[in-house]
Structure formats: C-alpha cells, structure tokens
C-alpha cells in the first residue's frame, strides 16, 4: 500500500514552520499576499481581451479554487500565475516582485517556486514517468541520490511505482495525469497551480489528489486549482473561490461560499 504522502513532505511540525517561512522569506508584501493582480488585462494578438480588469490578491498559504464556464479565461489566468504569459496591461506581483516588466533572466528563479499541473499534462514524451517527475528537481540541480528516493516515493504515492520506467504514450490518461501532478508537487513549490487536475481520474484518485493538495497547502504551499467540479470544491471547506466569467472576476453566486478576495480588501 503506497504511503499517502512522501515522508519528507509529511512532517507535521514542518508544516507550521513552512507557513511561517512562506511569509517571512517568500518576498510577500505587508498584507501577506503571495500574488496580487492590479487592473490586469490579457489579450492574444489583436483580438478582444481574454481577461480584463482583474484586481485581486491571494494570501500566502491559502487554498483557492478557480471556477467558471468554459472559455471564461481560467487557463489564461493560470498562465499569468505560472508566468507562461505576461499581462498586456496592469501589474502582477508574484512573491512580492512585479513580473509584467521583469527581465527574462529573472523569470527562472520565480518559476522554480511554482508547481504547475497542465490541463494537457505536457509530459515529455521520450522520458519515463520517473524522469518526468524528476524534471523539476533536475532543473534545480538536486543530486541524483536525493532525486532517486524522492521521486520513487512520489510515484509510489501516485500508485505508479510499478510504472516508473513507462513512457507517457504507454500510460492511460489517468496515469499521465498522476505523473503530471507528481511532477508539479515533487519539489515542494510555494505556489501550486493546477488546471483541471482531476479531469481524467476516478473519484477515488481525485479524492487522493485533493488530499495531497490539501496536505501541501497545510505545509504552507499556496494552492490554486481550476475546476468545474463542485463536488471536489466542497471537499475543501476552507478554500476560497474565484469565479471567472467572460474574462472578469464575477460576483459570487449562491453556489459559492466565499467571495473572491479583492486587492486591498
């Protein structure tokens, strides 16, 4: 039976320390926000704005669900979060640093603090499941000895220990998604961004994945999950909800329990 969570990440005392560390060392602003959008707009090419007038902040150590209908701009918003895109207007502060005008050379250091679960997984096709999960650690230059144990444990937890040498093409959709999630969390990011992370897995696995996100969040990682799944959302009662509609943060509906936190509020 695989462990629910890698030992290294599950130390209870470390969780409290991590939260304190997240606030003290992660370059947060005085209000303790890890991310702040200030009148942000995003436009692809010369088309209409995909995102417009977004102003909000996310607190360090918070758990956030991003919901909204298809085409509302959830993936675009997440791209701004994990620095795959820069806004066409407005300011984005991440870990206390303004990223819209940031030099290209400064981006890798910020990106290493973010874990991303892509909607389309984006596994490297010629690498095994093990090597895909090890990727963020290798980018950071972690020693192979450390990688060996951590990645094996992560794959065991994801129920893929026996498939560690399998290439993505030979894995099912659900297995690929679990590899993608393992890859996103293996380096203990300060900010975890997941785009529909449970879309291809059965309810039991979805619950386990959410437990992982929850455990990471309790260790101090700020979690942002884009999801349509209201049942999934209801499993994390403390989570806050951001609802996007036609590129703008919408007022909460009756189905949402918390309004999105606005910048400066």
């Amino acid at each position: 039976m695989p462990r629910l969570f890698p030992v290294r990440l599950a130390l209870p005392a470390e969780g409290r320390r991590a939260i304190a560390w997240a606030g003290a060392e992660a370059g947060l602003n005085s209000a303790g926000s890890i991310l702040q959008f200030d009148n942000v707009g995003l436009r692809y090419g010369t088309g209409a704005e995909t995102l417009s007038d977004l102003s909000f902040s996310l607190q360090a150590g918070g758990f956030y669900f991003l919901t909204g209908p298809s085409g509302a701009g959830k993936t675009s918003l997440l791209k701004l979060l994990y620095l795959a895109q820069r806004p066409t207007r407005g300011l984005v502060y991440l870990f206390g640093e303004e990223t819209a005008g940031m030099s290209r050379a400064a981006l890798p250091a910020l990106r290493r603090r973010i874990g991303v679960v892509f909607q389309d997984f984006r596994l490297v096709p010629h690498l095994s499941a093990f090597d895909n999960v090890a990727l963020p650690l290798r980018v950071r230059g972690v020693s192979e000895r450390d990688i060996e144990g951590t990645v094996a444990e992560m794959l065991d937890w994801a129920g893929l220990g026996h498939r560690s040498s399998a290439r993505p093409a030979t894995l099912s959709g659900g297995e690929q998604q679990r590899v993608a999630i393992a890859r996103a969390v293996v380096a203990r990011p300060e900010l975890l961004v997941a785009d529909e992370p449970t879309g291809n897995v059965d309810p039991e696995m979805a619950a386990r994945l959410l437990n992982l996100f929850d455990a990471l969040n309790k260790l101090g990682t700020t979690v942002v999950v884009a999801s349509h799944d209201l049942h999934l959302i209801s499993r994390v009662p403390r989570a806050e909800i951001l609802r996007l509609d036609r590129g703008q943060l919408a007022d909460p509906t009756g189905a949402l329990r918390h309004p999105p936190r606005r910048a400066g509020s």
Binding site: H126, L127, D131, L137, G141, V142, S143
Partner: protein, 296 residues
Amino acid sequence: MRERGKAFAPANRRLLPEGRMTGPMPWVIAIMTLLTVLAAAAGLGLGSAAKALEGGDRITIQIVQADSKRREAETAAVLAALRNMPGIESVKRLEEQEMRRLLEPWLGEGGVQSDIPIPAMIDVELFAGGQQQIAAMAERVRRVAPSARVDDHAQALAPLARLIDALRWLAAGLVLLMAGATAATVVLAARSALDTHRGTIEVLHLMGATDGQVARLFQRRIALDALFGGALGFAGSLLILWLVGERVSAIGSELIGSAGLDPASWALLAFLPLAGVLLAMAVARWTIIRALRRLS
C-alpha cells in the same frame, strides 16, 4: 534536498533524445572535416615546398665557351674569383661525368659525344642573406669570364614560388569557407532541433530552466554529432593523404616530394576536427540562446 550548480546533472542528458547519427549533421560535418583537412594539408604541404624553394640560396654559373682551352681558363678564373668572396658558403664545379649523367635523359644513352662542347657548370651555394651579393658576384664573374652566364635560382623559381603562394592562400581560403559552411550547418541543425523539441523546451522553461541550461543540452548533443562526424572525416582524410603520399613518392620529383608535412603540420591537422567541435558548440550555443530569447 541539496541543490547544486546550474548545469544539468549527467542523468539529464537524456532530456533530449539521445539517438546518434539520426540526422544529416554528423555526415555533413564528416564531409566538411574531410575537405577542410585536405585543404589544410595541401596548404601546409605547399608551404613546405615554398620553403624548399626559398631555402635554395644558390646560383649556377655556366661557362658557355666552345673552345675547351678558353672554357677551362675562364672556369678556373671564376673559381678563383669566387672563393674569397663574402656570402659564399661553397663553390663546386660539376664534373664532366655528372654533366653527362644530367644530359643523358635528354640526349639518350651515348648521345653525349665527346666532340660536342658542353658548357662548364659551377654550383655556388650562398649563406643565408647571400642573395644581396648576387649582383656583385655576377659582375665579378663576367669581368674574369666574358662567356659566363649567371643563373639565380630564386629568380628562376620566382613564378613557381608565386603560384605556390597563391595556392597556399587558396587553401587557407577554402579552410575558412569550410569553417563558415560548418557553422551554417550547425545553425540549421540547431534551429531544426529547437523546433523539434519546442514542447520539451517550453516545459523546461516553465519549471525554471534557464536559457543556459537548455542551450547546454543542445550544445552537448551537437558536440557529440560534430565529434563523431569530425573523427569520421579526419579518418577519411588521413586515408586520402596516405594514398596521395604513396603516389608522390612514386614520382620521385624533388619539388613535389618537398611538399611534405612535418610533425607540427600533422599536429595542426589533428587539431582541426577538435576545432570543428569547438566551433559547432559555440555556434550552437549562440543560435539556441538567440532563438530562446525570441521565444517569450
């Protein structure tokens, strides 16, 4: 978990597929290396030949006098006049036997009859820098031997030396052109590899990989291709040079035979494939970094 330096660990070499000799680049590099080494060998060999020509600080004096008594008297006078001149290393009269041996290929065996007047020939070897003395020498020789002709070897060989010099420049130009073509090949290969692995690069970037880290992956791959192609091309060029050397030896010509390669030249030729690898790595890095900067 301890984090180390910026370079990817050896295990990450497989971040890009490892297949060798899968694209045209190693073969193109092999051909380029072969042609470059041959052009360089030709240039260096011609350099040796040019040196052999330059090294011949010699003049030949012919006493063209039909009357054998006067010929002998003028020859003796010339030998006496030159012996004490500065700048002269040695003065030697060619013996009649040797003269006949030299003429035999032209007139046939027994063609050199004893009644045919053969000019007397005096071979004069000069010290280095003795060229400046030639005009004075010729003047002195003509004073004591009116029928003497002074042939300056350097002057006679000057057109050949100029041709060899031009060929050396041509060889150097070819080496540079080949280096340029190799660089262009690497640029195309690097761009193509970048397009092929764009998805992987994007993922690496989003995980925090720097442009330098990504470029190093491509550099290593291209360096291995260049190393393989370079070794193959160098081996081929050695084979060709050996075959050409065999043919040159068979000719037995002093001038062509002088176009040999000394150990320093061989060392330079052996360095060319390595220089090719270094060039390929530098060009690959430059291309990849430039392309990555345009990505986002």
